[in-house]
Amino acid sequence: MKASHKVTLVAAGLLIVCMTASVVILQRVDRVRAGATLEEVLYISSPKLLKRLSLGYDGLLADIYWTRAVQYFGGKHHEGAGEYKLLAPLLEITTTLDPHLIVAYEFGANFLAPAPPNGAGMPEKAIELVENGIRSNPDEWRLYYQLGFIYYIDLKDYAGAAKAFASGARLPHAHPFLKILAAQMAQHAGEWETARMLWVSAYATANDPEIRANAAAHIRALQVDRDVAALDVFTEEYTKRAGHPPGSLSDLVAAGMLRGVPVDPLGHPYKLGADGRVQVADPDNLPFIQKGTPPGYVPPKKPKILPTD
């Protein structure tokens, strides 16, 4: 058996060498390609043709493109790239292949519409996507909800938002808060309460982890905004009474105006900046806040809005 053993040994050794080499080379190839497969999305001029060519496997292909869309967004987000030019075509192809993939429309509403770096900054494309979704899924109240969202948050078009929520509320299985939201739009559009209601409802109804995380970040931001506004009122009051601005928030506690130094949604106490204004301890971890940032603060390129951040 000696000759045979020699062959076995050589072949086994060569196999291991080749396997290792193939893995190493693969990693290099992936680096060179780096998203080239995704770039090809730009060349698919007709998603409808793709659907026809997929010969009945369009559902599977839709899932593959959906996975690619999610990974694309996550990847670009982690790079801090600040632009997501392939997100729209990816979602368009996904929804053409499977028009009933509701989560794809929701993802588009949440991440296509907002301005960079939180999203692709294409609210019109987002609206187009969701409206296509509504055409294919006329009984899906969630899509009307998303539509209203885009109008309210990104376009500040309260009338449009009211119309969308109202249309959605008319559907047979609509979630009751759609009616409430429609009413809120009509009367209290620009108010804090309305915004909070919107984000809380988004958080409560979303299944996709990224959308939930995004909503949670918005809810925290709203909380911060209100806290900071309230604290600013107290510091003004203190200044009026004491004749000089407080040195720190502990002064307010000493003066009996506060029971303790309040903490932000992340658990860090608020503090007073050198300019006498209330600030958060860690603005990088609180995206979307409008108040409480130190002067000259530049938000990071990679806002912490996803669960993996």
Binding site: M1, K2, A3, S4
Partner: protein, 316 residues
């Protein structure tokens, strides 16, 4: 140095899908064949002859044991250049012509390129394939012609030892005679021939020694004459008339009656008693001929002996 040495070669297969049961195709076999011998490897179907040949050729791996050919391990590549093999019911690349096939094999066997053309032509002639057939695709060949091609590829590189598995199968009587002559010629050329068959008359005529294999076990080995000598002989009695005396039947005679005579075969030692019986019945004896015991008798005897053992094996 023996041409072929089989040392405890054994093969067990695992059969069955879920619970694998071992099936012994070949019990440990010990055999040795001298150079220049024509050795017959006999046995009924399923005895393990083809398994043995496959093990010798390295086509299957033995569960235990080893084999040596011309003093070297049987899977040594140097050995392969010196042996020729004709498998049972051979099938060759049917899109090739006979000439192309033989040239391909000649190349693979390491025959020097310059000699190939001549060797192939000589070989085609030797196995009795007409030149007109040489350039016809093998898919058009009859079984007999295929068999001849098979023998040609087995000997074309002038091997020292030739292994043939059922070389006569598919041949008409003329063809069988030709193959027998060919095998004798091989012996005259000093080659060793190891062939398996279940046609005993061929083995009896050709072989120096035979081995009988049954159910994977070697039953006996030896020269034909030695083996058949041990078998009790028979005599053939023919008498006139159609009467079959009871006493003859009692002696264990097999009787066949024709229109005017009866032919009986009985063991040799009973012949005196039989003649006496015929005399008593006043039947006229026409002929008394001793029958030479054949290899077939011996063979059947060996196989019959194995039956009780076989039955026991099956039960266990």
């Amino acid at each position: 140095m023996p041409a072929i040495e089989i040392l405890g070669l054994e093969k067990t297969y695992e059969v069955g899908f879920w619970r694998k049961r071992p099936k012994r195709a070949l019990h440990p076999l010990n055999l040795s064949v001298e150079e220049g011998e024509i050795f017959g490897f006999l046995g009924p179907n399923g005895a393990g002859k083809t398994t043995t040949l496959k093990l010798l050729m390295g086509l299957a791996r033995p569960t235990a044991g080893a084999a040596r050919i011309l003093g070297m391990e049987n899977d040594d590549p140097r050995v392969k250049a010196q042996i020729g093999f004709l498998p049972e019911q051979p099938y060759f690349y049917d899109y090739l012509t006979a000439r192309e096939l033989l040239r391909y094999y000649a190349h693979l066997s390491g025959v020097p390129s310059g000699e190939i053309a001549n060797k192939v032509s000589a070989m085609l002639e030797r196995v009795g394939l007409p030149t007109s057939a040489a350039d016809v695709q093998l898919r058009k060949f009859s079984k007999g012609m295929m068999q001849r091609v098979g023998i040609a590829q087995a000997i074309l590189h002038d091997p020292k030892v030739v292994f043939l598995d059922e070389p006569m199968s598919g041949l008409d009587p003329v063809g069988r005679r030709e193959v027998r002559d060919l095998i004798e010629r091989l012996k005259q050329e000093g080659k060793t021939v190891f062939f398996s068959t279940h046609i005993l008359s061929d083995a009896e005529a050709l072989c120096d020694r035979v081995a009988i294999l049954h159910l994977g076990e070697l039953r006996s080995v030896g020269a034909v004459a030695e083996l058949t000598a041990g078998v009790r002989g028979k005599v053939e009695l023919i008498w006139a008339g159609t009467t079959i005396p009871a006493s003859l039947k009692a002696l264990g005679a097999e009787c066949h009656a024709t229109s005017d005579s009866v032919r009986a075969i009985l063991p040799e030692e009973k012949q005196e008693a039989a003649i006496e019986a015929l005399k008593r019945e006043r039947l006229r004896l026409i002929s008394l001929v001793p029958l030479r015991s054949t290899l077939e008798d011996y063979f059947v005897q060996q196989v019959e002996q194995a039956k009780p053992a076989q039955a026991m094996a099956v039960r266990s």
